[in-house]
Symmetry: C2
Subunit: 194 residues, 2 copies
DNA sequence: CTCGTATGTAAGTATTTATTTACTAATCCA
DNA sequence: TGGATTAGTAAATAAATACTTACATACGAG
């Protein structure tokens, strides 16, 4: 399960390639150029291209898992925890646009069952953490109760994704961090009590 | 600009192909099988595959434009207009999953400037209509004012898109119409006055 | 030292895909 | 009628792409 240094190197090169060009640019040829070896060398370290994509997703998963656990372990007000997760995601997109490029490429993965399942899992991780936080927040009377947590989750994750998608479609023109902050402020205003 | 009957036929076949398989399945070979002609015949009617994709987007655009104009022309309360647009979109995804497949394939279009611009335009059409509705709603004291309309729009469009994406990733397992209704009810609850 | 394993290269292969070409049959109009 | 236009076919082409194979070299353990 854990990767050798060279495997890490290849996965990182793949991520860089996706970030700078697009997921379409992730070909074995391009990847081998990026790493500085020939195509055959890639196959010494991964059995297939799918395997590489899979490890990219696993890497993002383990980052996300770490962040989500850290967030849950402290005992801030619910809304602060949500903001923390929200802004952490925004920042990780800003610092590493490949994450967005990969995660938002479900359409490409759709025929690859294994990949779309891993993307799904990543979403589920976020959802279940948010679910737990919102539930507590409602019990503690910090968050409004008239709206089911499932719908709040949809709005939070959906609005991030949409904002990031437009940021990407528009060629990274606007300041994502700033827009993310306005958005989470609006969400706070809507779902906090009073 | 307007298409011949045979061109319509080809575009519709392309949409069907995307809906039933995926956007990856839209190859000239598959398309010609679907239509019942050979590959060469396709090129009698369209200059390139890109041209076909473009006309798919234009078709969706004109449908959406029609719907948005219809909505604006009546004088319902803002929230009812929003719900109308919202549910119209949901229903069009239910009836024609290709629309979702195409619109959510920005990642594939990203290197095709022309295509991503048209997807962008489709989003802008929805945004500007919603913007107008929300503005009036806030003036008329129907909608809350503490939150900027840009953020509300992000939440509305984002939450639809996210719900539809999960519906697709999960293989159309849940009832999108029902979930859409719960979601718009929640939104209504959050952004209506009182 | 040397043998085997790990890791690289160069040059394939097989397949897919968009597009083109040369040809044909039908249909329309002068 | 007859010549051009339209719309189809079959087959070729060119490029891209994931992956394989045969060979080379370095290096660590016995």
């Amino acid at each position: 399960m854990t990767l050798s240094p060279r495997q890490e190197e290849i996965v990182d090169a793949a991520i860089k390639l996706i970030a700078e060009k697009s997921i379409q640019a992730l070909t074995i040829k391009n990847l081998s150029n990026q790493v500085g070896f020939t195509e055959g060398a890639i196959y010494r370290h991964f059995s297939s291209k799918l395997d590489i994509l899979l490890h990219i997703l696993l890497k993002f998963q383990s980052n996300a898992r770490q962040m989500l656990e850290d967030t849950c372990s402290n005992d801030l007000p619910a809304m602060d925890q949500i903001e923390h997760i929200f802004m952490h995601n925004i920042m990780s997109f800003v610092e590493n646009p490949a994450i967005a490029a990969v995660i938002f490429s479900e359409s490409i993965f759709q025929n690859e069952d294994r990949l779309s399942r891993e993307v799904f899992k990543l979403l589920e991780m976020h959802e279940s953490t948010l679910s737990c936080i919102i539930e507590k927040g409602q019990e503690r009377n910090e968050l409004i109760e008239g709206v089911q947590k499932e719908e709040i989750i949809r709005m939070i994750i959906g609005s991030i994704r949409y904002t990031v998608t437009k940021w990407r479609l528009g060629g990274y023109q606007f300041n994502l961090q700033k827009e993310g902050k306005s958005l989470i402020d609006a969400i706070r205003h809507l779902i906090s009590k009073q």
